[in-house]
């Protein structure tokens, strides 16, 4: 049953991304000041949106673990956070590439990228800590605490860095929320991309979760064999 869902989602994702990519690469006009590269926005921003949401969802799963003490939720939380970390990395890398194109530097300390970097560091620490603890229940407990602290902190990070006077996007930003006239043609692929990333996220979490569950089973079988 699970395999079928996974297959369905993968097919949906493949179709969606193919169609969307076609639109983005062929359907949209080149923007006046930014040439063809502005299309990287379609990979850059949705990754941030889905990634950050993923961290929040990870915190919810952690909370459910704390309430039920069922290790399944901890595994799910870890998988979700790992996938979100990957999406955050995509955001950072595409942001860096775009920045290089636009502003000539591989890293400009602009507010959004810096915030994402800090969040990435927080949750990379989460994964690092998981590696340092053997016992599953202890690991789950401690991970849950870090997840809660990290997610609340992420909110602070974004707000605070936004207000720091020094850290602004040094150049013009293609932002759908800063008003102005945005062509409907430019806007729709963005939302489809968010959906595509969400599908990708769910697929990867399911795969990763299964990996973790199997490895836990192997561990416990090994322990049983030794005992």
């Amino acid at each position: 049953m699970r395999n079928r869902i996974l297959l369905l989602l993968t097919v949906a994702f493949a179709m969606l991304i193919a169609w969307n990519l076609k639109n983005i690469l062929l359907g949209l006009p080149d923007e006046a000041r930014q040439d063809a590269v502005y299309r990287i926005l379609y990979f850059h921003a949705p990754a941030a949106i889905v990634g950050l949401t993923g961290f929040g969802i990870g915190m919810v799963f952690s909370g459910i673990y704390l309430a039920t003490k069922n290790l399944y939720w901890d595994t799910l939380a870890a998988s979700t956070t790992e996938v979100s970390l990957m999406l955050a990395a995509i955001n950072l890398v595409t942001g860096s590439i775009w920045g290089r194109q636009q502003w000539g530097v591989w890293w400009a300390w602009d507010a959004r990228l810096t915030s994402m970097l800090v969040c990435w560091l927080i949750f990379a620490g989460y994964l690092m800590m998981r590696r340092a603890v053997e016992e599953p229940n202890t690991r789950a407990r401690l991970s849950a605490v870090i997840s809660v602290f990290g997610t609340v902190n992420a909110w602070f990070v974004y707000k605070v860095i936004e207000w720091v006077p020094r850290l602004q996007h040094p150049g013009p930003v293609l932002s759908f929320r800063t008003g102005g006239k945005i062509d409907h043609q430019l806007e729709t692929p963005f939302y489809w991309m968010v959906l595509a990333y969400m599908l990708l996220g769910v697929i990867l979490v399911m795969i990763r979760n299964r990996q973790e569950s199997i490895s836990h089973e192997i561990d416990s079988l090994r322990r049983l064999a030794h005992a």
Binding site: L66, G125, V133, R141, N153, V160, I161, V164
Partner: protein, 256 residues
């Protein structure tokens, strides 16, 4: 004890105002909790003062960092105006990690943590007691660093000392609260000394940014006003929220 308290409340109700009687149990519990926190804090401070291990190590470390910074950066007064706050708080962060690491690490010797957890002290009481002790140690350390900083980099800080102390007090509380939670969390981990900074430093970005900006302003002579009140609010908000988080989650961290 709960039964004792309610009996006492019943006795009080006979003699005194009903209002006082009904709040007596709560006041008793609160004062007893406070006493326990202070007992723990006093114990930590006394133990630290006997050996001064963490204090000496931190002070030595921060002095070395300050000297290295002054070689590396060789700043002129205009540059100092720009990043005095940043520099100072970096030193506080590095030195603070040593003290915070010791906080729960010292309980692992002789299995003291088990005895504390088995005692009637609630984990939140244990946590707050340690936060108070760490806070006192860090504030002392930071004051000494500030003096050194003023001397090495020729920065005058006595002018705005009141607001400066306020910023230090708020920023240090943030560092102490988060650092103490993670000290408890990492106490049993391999590579504890590395894991603590790795986990804590990214989380300190919001309060440190606020503290750095405020400190730079204050050291440059600007007073606290509507321009930078935002950052004071950020610090206060962070302190309140993370103290609440710490107190509620410490039980999960310590008992499993």
């Amino acid at each position: 004890m709960k039964q004792d308290i309610s009996r006492k409340g019943a006795e009080l109700a006979k003699n005194e105002d009903v209002f006082f009687a009904s709040s007596a149990p709560l006041r008793e519990t609160f004062f007893s909790f406070l006493r326990q926190c202070l007992t723990i804090a006093a114990k930590d401070l006394r133990a630290e003062w006997r050996t001064k291990e963490a204090l000496n190590a931190s002070l030595a470390f921060s002095t070395v960092i300050l000297i290295l910074f002054s070689f590396a950066l060789d700043p002129n007064p205009e540059m100092m105006q720009e990043f005095s706050g940043g520099l100072l708080w970096l030193v506080f962060l590095f030195a603070g990690a040593l003290v915070l690491n010791r906080s729960f690490a010292r309980e692992m010797q002789n299995d003291c943590l088990d005895a504390l957890l088995a005692s009637p002290v609630p984990p939140s009481g244990l946590f707050l007691g340690k936060v108070l002790a760490n806070y006192a140690l860090l504030m002392m350390l930071e004051f000494l660093c500030l003096v050194e900083f003023g001397l090495l980099f020729n920065v005058r800080w006595l002018g705005n000392v009141g607001p400066l102390m306020l910023v230090m007090a708020l920023g240090t509380w943030a560092l102490t609260v988060v650092g103490t939670v993670f000290s408890a969390l990492t106490v049993n981990l391999r590579l504890r000394e590395v894991m603590l900074p790795v986990l804590v430093y990214p989380m300190m970005v919001p309060p440190m940014m606020a503290a750095m900006i405020l400190t730079t302003d204050l050291l440059a002579g600007t007073a606290l006003g509507p321009g930078n009140m935002l950052w004071v609010r950020v610090l206060v908000g962070f302190d309140v929220i993370f103290t609440l988080l710490g107190v509620s989650l410490i039980d999960t961290v310590l008992v499993g």
